[in-house]
């Protein structure tokens, strides 16, 4: 049994496509078998809503009179990049406020814009013959901007570590507060709903794929930063550690604060929960087999964040079903677990994307170019060296 992209898109266009979320597809496959599920279902939708630090927006403010070439830019006292053209900028979610620190950062500015709030824009410039203005202090709303779009260099990580702390003191990390002596374990994946866990070898998700980003239709723009397809994989070909990533692009004006939320991790910094969903065509039974995998089949590696080094030691492997049960066992000890990535929101995203495909006839795009496959990428480390040693 196999279906082509064209057949599936024709069924979407005519409103006949059968669309299920990854969880629903897993349940159907468990009841009726993978063969039947593969035949019956055209598209499976996925979703994830976790903190994704490598996210941000490209903004164009339009020109003032007289015009300014903005060199130093702040939005609600959060610095935005001043190294682009006159009134273009990039605002990253992790940039802290110069006044409020990590309690208000780039992510909070973006959330304020999404909520329709006015944001204070201040910029300065040395002034040039063509851009004579040297200072500007004004208020802008999302609707006032020419272009505003997400360009997120790394989203939707294919699996992630489970974090624990073996030291004697609490650690404040991007994985939350890790209590001493294996006092807790935090994890950050949508598991069975996670986009790249459902298509582990990037057969259907690639450059040009149409995706859901923070409530807006968008595209996979490129491989995400640190995309690493060579991580260890299980018998289904699914990575058991953080592997593939996506760079995505989408219109901020069509996005919603329902699917984007600023975050502050105490003792660490600002980040943003970004909702990402990918619709996956059920091309054949091989793909159906990985789409049907549930939390009990998917594993993550437990990492000791108490070791402050690039390579932290693994202290075991657990399934997402075990993590969701509220506790796992590590080194003979019962350890309380808690998620960072919102499962209720991931479900809402997969359900909304299902509605897009089934009702709004959101058709799918085959990859224009494939993401790097296992053996095609290499992850470099940063060596500390002198110019002479290069």
């Amino acid at each position: 049994m196999s279906k082509s992209w064209e057949e599936i898109n024709a069924r979407i266009a005519s409103g006949e496509a059968v669309v299920l979320t990854a969880e629903e597809f897993g349940a159907l496959a468990a009841d009726e078998g993978i063969k039947t599920a593969a035949r019956k279902v055209d598209v499976v939708t996925t979703g994830t809503f976790g903190p994704m630090c490598s996210s941000g927006v490209v903004l164009n403010f339009g020109h003032s009179d007289p015009p300014i070439r903005m060199a130093k830019i702040t939005l609600n006292d959060v610095e935005a990049y001043g190294g682009l053209a006159a009134v273009d900028t990039y605002l990253g979610v992790t940039q802290p406020s110069s006044v409020r620190g990590i309690e208000y950062g780039g992510a909070h500015v973006i959330e304020d814009l999404l909520r329709g709030r006015a944001v204070r824009l201040r910029a300065s410039s040395p002034g040039t013959d063509c851009y004579p203005r040297t200072e500007i202090d004004t208020w802008v709303r999302l609707a006032d901007l020419n272009q505003a779009y997400f360009f997120n260099p790394r989203n939707a990580y294919q699996n992630y570590a489970v974090a624990v702390n073996s030291t004697d003191r609490a650690l404040h990390t991007y994985m939350g507060t890790l209590l001493p002596r294996l006092g807790n374990a935090t994890y950050s994946s949508a598991g069975a709903l996670s986009p790249l866990l459902n298509d582990p070898l990037y057969r259907t998700i690639g450059i040009g794929s149409r995706v859901f980003v923070a409530g807006a239709p968008g595209f996979v723009a490129w491989q995400g930063t640190q995309h690493n397809p060579d991580q260890p994989r299980d018998e289904h070909g699914v990575p058991v550690a953080s592997a593939g990533t996506l760079a995505v692009i989408a219109d901020l004006k069509q996005a919603s604060a329902e699917y984007f939320a600023a975050a502050t991790f105490t003792g660490y910094g600002t980040s943003a929960f970004v909702g990402v969903g990918v619709p996956i065509p059920v091309l054949d039974e091989d793909l159906a087999a990985t789409l049907a995998l549930g939390d009990a089949d998917l594993q993550a590696t437990v990492i000791d964040y108490g070791v402050p080094r690039r390579s932290r030691p693994s202290v075991g492997r657990v399934t997402y079903a075990q993590l969701r049960s509220g506790w796992i066992e590590i080194e003979g000890k019962k350890v309380q677990t808690g998620p960072i990535s919102s499962l209720p929101k991931a479900r809402a995203i997969a359900a909304e994307l299902k509605r897009w495909v089934a009702e709004e006839r959101f058709t799918l795009t085959p990859p224009i170019q494939r993401l790097p496959q296992p053996g095609e990428a290499s992850i470099h480390t940063l060596e500390i060296r002198t110019e002479e040693a290069v």
């Binding site: 105490t266 929960f273 808690g338 998620p339 960072i340 919102s342 499962l343 209720p344």
Partner: protein, 135 residues
């Protein structure tokens, strides 16, 4: 033995009296101070959990009231802003008494105030700053 939680308000002049000593010694109650904001010369507040026999409770509370302290059943002092919460569940990872539980199937964060020990770990952990303590 029954265990109950009380919200105590101290008038400014009473705020330095060692009431927990008397609760233990005179009334055989086991006090557990969950939160306290007590400074000499100012109105004070204490969230106090008491464990003991029923008759000792009544005598102990009568003693507190005779001392000019207002005793009321403990109200929920932890507030969750449901509009701001994104149901990530990170608060549940740091809640050792399991007062906070995320019900994945219902998509609801449950808060059991009787289990809460007011340690504030969730307040600090919440990336949305959706959890606050009223005192």
């Amino acid at each position: 033995m029954p265990r109950k939680r009380f919200d105590l308000t101290f008038p400014p002049r009473q705020a330095t009296k060692a009431i927990t000593y008397h609760l233990v010694k005179d009334f055989d109650l086991v006090p557990n101070i969950l939160r306290a904001a007590i400074q000499p010369g100012q109105e004070g507040r204490m969230l106090l959990e008491l464990t003991g026999r029923k008759e000792d409770f009544e005598a102990g509370i009568a003693f507190l009231e005779a001392e000019g302290i207002t005793v009321s059943p403990a109200a929920s002092d932890i507030r969750l802003d449901e509009e701001t919460c994104v149901l990530c569940g990170l608060c549940t990872a740091v809640c050792k008494p399991h007062a906070l539980e995320l019900a994945f199937e219902e998509g609801v964060l449950h808060f059991d105030k009787d289990k809460c020990v007011y340690c504030e770990a969730c307040v600090i952990a919440c990336p949305r700053r959706a959890i606050t303590l009223s005192f």
